[in-house]
Symmetry: C2
Subunit: 524 residues, 2 copies
């Protein structure tokens, strides 16, 4: 990403030399892809009440099936159009997902749990990264794999530290366990940003003259990126809010408002990439600021539309990614290039999956205890052991970020002729498929077992607990514009009465009401 992101962009279309009659298969591919996306949506909907399957698994399985069909019907010729492309992922698919995460996040919960989320999302990634890197470096040669250098091992650490919490979030119910949901959700976003930033920091390391200070450089770079990216996202969000408030006052034009919000969000991401910052963090905070200020400056229909359209775009991008990953498993070129014995391969898969399990356990439980220790002083709700297990489990799935980083590290433009590198790519794909399908498969039963009330009415009220669907209750959205229903409101109210509001939050509310909202907009 960063430096690499540009080459794939829309405008490079223009200089792309294509041939007319020789490549009619691409229009077929787009049609097939769109048709299969529709199929995924319909099947995902039909299987919604199923106890085991979720939409990620559906999409991956359908992707595998379609990939197989295409591969056979084209006699192996077409496998290259199914190849996962990290550039498409980072330019087109990731931004809407992360922006929507910021736009729909329950801001109050998120900021109240900010410290714990940072523990998991930042320190956790560093711990997991250290364990997986060291583990791979120690164990890979034992199963007969050699040929990786120090940077590759460090990269593997970040590749397999980036989680994919979509599966778990599809099952958890926000209004029943708001804190747990917020932790899993928040960690997911911060984890994405941390692993990408860490990955880039490692790519920049000069291993020829490595010294003891390298780790400090990485940490310093990381902090710098974190703060500047956040600042950029907040600035873009505030600018949009101000523009909408200053220019559109009194005469609303829905199309322009929606277009401006979506384009400015995308612009913040691209600008961050352009400035070599972390687009993920930028667009996430841009989403938070936009939902806090800009969203209140637009017309009623714009509010409804933006809520739903960002969620829909994110939904399509997620489905697309899982479908893509499913199809990518059929990239036979990589399998041919890998040339690794079955025994070694099984060894590699076993090592990685074990390290993922251990690496995550190594920080979730200690950091939860630490968080509980700190929280106990501030009268906050503690993270129970059951919740710790769910948090641990939620981050076991590996997703598209892992694959994108692996492609970035081990291929050049998606192609590699190095057998060891090809093995790393196929291993990543296998781990992603395995973790999503097997761990994902067990998620619903596990959560049902740990949180028994989840088993009832987990589907018939599905829509009510989605943060995007409570648009009908704008009066609740004062400080959590994605507040969910009366239950939540009652609970918030009783919480407010029972215990003192955190001082920082109270100060912020005062500042927000007095200085920010008059300028940038907010609920009246």
């Amino acid at each position: 990403m960063r430096g690499r992101i540009g080459s794939m962009a829309l405008l490079s279309f223009a200089s792309f030399v294509f041939s007319d009659e020789t490549e009619p298969s691409t229009v077929v591919s787009v049609s097939v892809f769109v048709a299969v996306l529709c199929l995924c949506i319909v099947v995902g909907h039909l299987l919604e009440e199923n106890r085991w399957v979720n939409e990620s698994i559906t999409a991956i399985v359908i992707g595998c099936i379609v990939g197989t069909i295409i591969l056979f019907s084209s006699k192996g010729r077409n496998s290259h159009i199914l190849r996962f492309n990290e550039e498409v992922f980072f330019i087109y698919l990731l931004p809407p997902i992360i922006f929507n995460a910021g736009f729909q996040v329950k801001k109050k919960q998120f900021f109240q749990n900010f410290l714990t989320i940072m523990f998991f999302g930042v320190i956790g990634v560093f711990i997991s990264f250290a364990i997986i890197s060291a583990g791979c470096w120690w164990l890979f040669p034992k199963v007969g794999l050699s040929g990786l250098d120090a940077q590759d091992y460090l990269a593997l650490g970040t590749i397999f530290s980036s989680t994919d919490t979509v599966c778990t979030l599809q099952v958890l119910r926000q209004e029943e366990t708001p804190r747990l949901y917020s932790l899993v959700f928040g960690e997911g976003v911060v984890n994405d940003a941390t692993s990408v930033v860490l990955f880039n920091a490692i790519k920049k390391l000069d291993f020829s003259k490595l010294e003891g200070w390298a780790i400090f450089h990485v940490v310093r770079d990381f902090l710098y990126l974190f703060l500047t990216s956040t600042a950029l996202g907040i600035a873009t969000g505030l600018l949009t809010a101000y523009a909408l408030k200053a220019l559109y006052f009194g005469r609303h034009s829905t199309d322009r408002e929606i277009a401006l919000m979506a384009l400015m969000a995308y612009f913040s991401y691209m600008l961050a990439e352009l400035l070599q910052l972390s687009g993920i963090l930028t667009v996430f905070f841009c989403g938070i600021v936009m939902s806090h200020y800009a969203w209140h400056n637009v017309s009623e229909s714009s509010r409804i539309t933006t809520r739903h359209i960002f969620a829909t775009l994110s939904f399509i991008a997620e489905t697309f990614i899982f479908l893509y990953v499913g199809m990518d498993a059929l990239d036979i070129d990589k399998w041919k290039t890998a040339k690794t014995s079955f025994k070694t391969l099984s060894g590699i898969y076993g090592i990685i999956i074990s390290l993922v399990l251990v690496g995550r356990a190594a920080f979730v439980f200690p950091l939860s205890i630490l968080s509980n220790y700190i929280s106990s002083k501030s009268e906050r709700q503690l993270i129970t052991f059951k919740h710790q297990v769910i948090i641990w489990w939620a981050g076991l799935m590996r997703g598209a970020v892992s694959i994108a980083l692996a492609f970035n590290q081990f291929t050049y433009s998606g192609v590699t002729w190095n057998p060891v590198h090809a093995t790393m790519i196929t291993s990543t794909v296998v781990v992603v498929l395995f973790s999503t399908v097997v761990f994902g498969f067990l998620t619903k039963p596990l959560i049902t077992a740990l949180l028994p009330h989840h088993s009832q009415e987990s589907t018939d009220h599905k829509d009510d607990n989605m943060p995007k669907d409570d648009i009908a209750l704008p009066f609740l959205s004062a400080d959590s514009s994605a507040g969910s229903g009366f239950l939540q409101a009652k609970r918030s109210l009783s919480m407010l009465l029972e215990r003192p509001v955190h001082t920082i939050h109270a100060y912020w509310r005062k500042f927000d009401d007095k200085y920010m909202r008059p300028v940038f907009g907010g609920p009246n």
Copy 2:
């Protein structure tokens, strides 16, 4: 299009070999493009009340300015990223515009004026095509341009027969002159489809063994394409409506509904292109059917969101196109290749613009009289002379379709080294710029002069007369789901009482109520 469309598609991304550090300018380009789009939206909004300027002109002018800045700042190096790309246009930008046209069209008005719209949109294009082709063939050699063959002249006829009515539609007020609006709007869509289909028919003609029957072949192909494309669009729309009704009954999931509608619409377009049909017609009728049936099967928030999001996508695509055309004027490679004297160039521009004016007058006025003659028997409102002038004027602007067809005819993948062909490209760009800016500039004053009541309150109620904004009145949308306000409702009612409803329409309503709506959905 058609055969050529595929090569540019999303998945060809995957096989596109890009370089990392050598091409960092593309991420800059995307950022610049998105930022400039935002600028266009803001400036367009600020100039909304301006008497002369409209959003198309704003975008074109901003495009030219930005193009100049980029060209200078890159010392002429970057002109190639600004080149107009017909594939991007036909795969990504045109489908949302045409689908939205179908989705928002006032179906009742459209079908009541169907015959007149077909006169203008089909027969009109043939007449204009004949006049422009013959005129160019006769006059171009007189100003010193030679080197074009018979097919080129025929292609020029279609290139300059395709209109762009966006400018006029931005000024006309639908609820004041519903029939005029419907005619201009309907002609715009049918004209796009006709010129693209005719262009493809001409490209297929074998000029080496041309015989007298060729014209009949063209007409036969045209009718075949027209009917099959329409049928495909209707079929896809009905399938979507049925799927939404059958699968989502009782438990609505907004994200899935919106995603399914958008993806199926896009799928219909791609499928039509895949089957060598006219995607424009298909996606237009798909939009009509979706708004008539599918739209009633989804949740309330999906209805609001789809209305707005399709309008917004269309708005962004339109702005993008005008911006693109503006930037494309700076494609200095073409200007260098052209090597034509200033005198010849001025001659060419003069000839084309005169032929456009004459070619359009040659069918608007006679066909209006013919339509009035037929309508007078059926007690329909006649097309007054003032309205005829507005219809004539509305179709004088040339737009992105002209440029896309010119690139298809005279370049290979956007590149040409033939001076005559380069001259044709630059002439097309100049005619499009001239007609959009100069004719567009005069549109508001002209319409204000011809329809004086347009001058008052033409901006403060802007939003009310947009078909997409009357979502708050769902009870009006029974047979024109984009009905606009109480005035319109009152007028419709009095029209219904004053004169007999057309028999065909009455039969269709009966059939629709009895057989179609129970299966595919509709207002209760």
